[in-house]
Symmetry: C2
Subunit: 150 residues, 2 copies
DNA sequence: TGATCAAATGCAACAGAATTGCATAAGCAA
DNA sequence: TTGCTTATGCAATTCTGTTGCATTTGATCA
């Protein structure tokens, strides 16, 4: 397992400093976690995954807020009205054409990378700047299983 | 303003009784309100709109739960992780192909009646049963105004 | 009408997610 | 290493929604 010292000079740390922010352990850990996750994580997921490091709950909230503000991550409210976070694709011009899949059984949220979302025609006077698109159903692990995955 | 007596035998009341439920003042009031609203209302919106009647907070929550259960209304979690409710179109087979517009300025949610949403292709093993589609931006009243509409 | 009874309500307490204030700790530039 | 600004940790609070339970009431039937 990497210590803070070891990853302090990593590309991730440089990316954080390039934004004018400090490369702190909490930011490095959360960013690494989100980058390695294939799905959108809740604050609770992140807290459990980084339990060893012992970050304060509020610190994680603030790191996530900062990531969303600086464009490193997306934030969506899931059906249980809990925020979920996923890394923003660096190439994506706006984090607006993002699609998700939420499993009704295990409540996990997956990013649908290759789904193209187009904005529909809107009523007169309305101007759209972003689109949220979420499909619900059963994920590959839960489909056909009585017991939800993990 | 209509008294409870006056609207007790209305078509709305009959619709409620047809579902095997009692036509109570709270249900009539909420149903009337949602039917006359052009947008999805939060519990807070509803509480304020029906302030005169003095319904308890919990009663409104339970009426809304009942409406969703019996198919009279849709419920979605908005970007601020607040539930919003809108009447279900009686003809609509499933409340899955529903599209919304959320104003970034005033946070109100509008129903986009005529937008057709189709489910995208999903990864192997995934099975979708519903779709949520929400466009964000500025509504007709807030567009170009510095101060958000009410 | 009036009695009856399950369904609905009101009140209080609770629960979970997220935010705010403030004193302390720590990253990083000089 | 020093100093300053940013980030963190802790406690308390807000906001949204839920649960338990005693009381009231809508609708049925005599």
């Amino acid at each position: 397992m990497n210590t803070f010292k070891q990853i302090k000079s990593s590309a991730t740390a440089a990316r954080i400093r390039a934004l004018g922010a400090r490369a702190t352990p909490a930011r490095l850990a959360v960013l690494h976690l989100l980058e390695s996750a294939k799905r959108a994580l809740s604050h609770h997921d992140i807290e459990q995954a980084l339990d060893d490091a012992g970050f304060d709950r509020v610190t994680l909230y603030r790191v996530l807020d900062w990531m969303v503000e600086s464009g490193l991550a997306h934030r969506v409210a899931d059906a249980q009205r809990v925020f979920r976070f996923s890394v923003a694709a660096p190439s994506s011009p706006m984090h607006t054409l993002h699609a998700h899949f939420r499993c009704d059984a295990c409540s996990r949220v997956f990013c649908l990378e290759d789904v193209v979302v187009q904005s529909p025609r809107l009523p007169a006077g309305f101007h759209g700047s972003g689109v949220e698109f979420c499909v619900t159903g059963h994920c590959a692990q839960c489909d056909g299983n009585a017991v939800p995955a993990k």
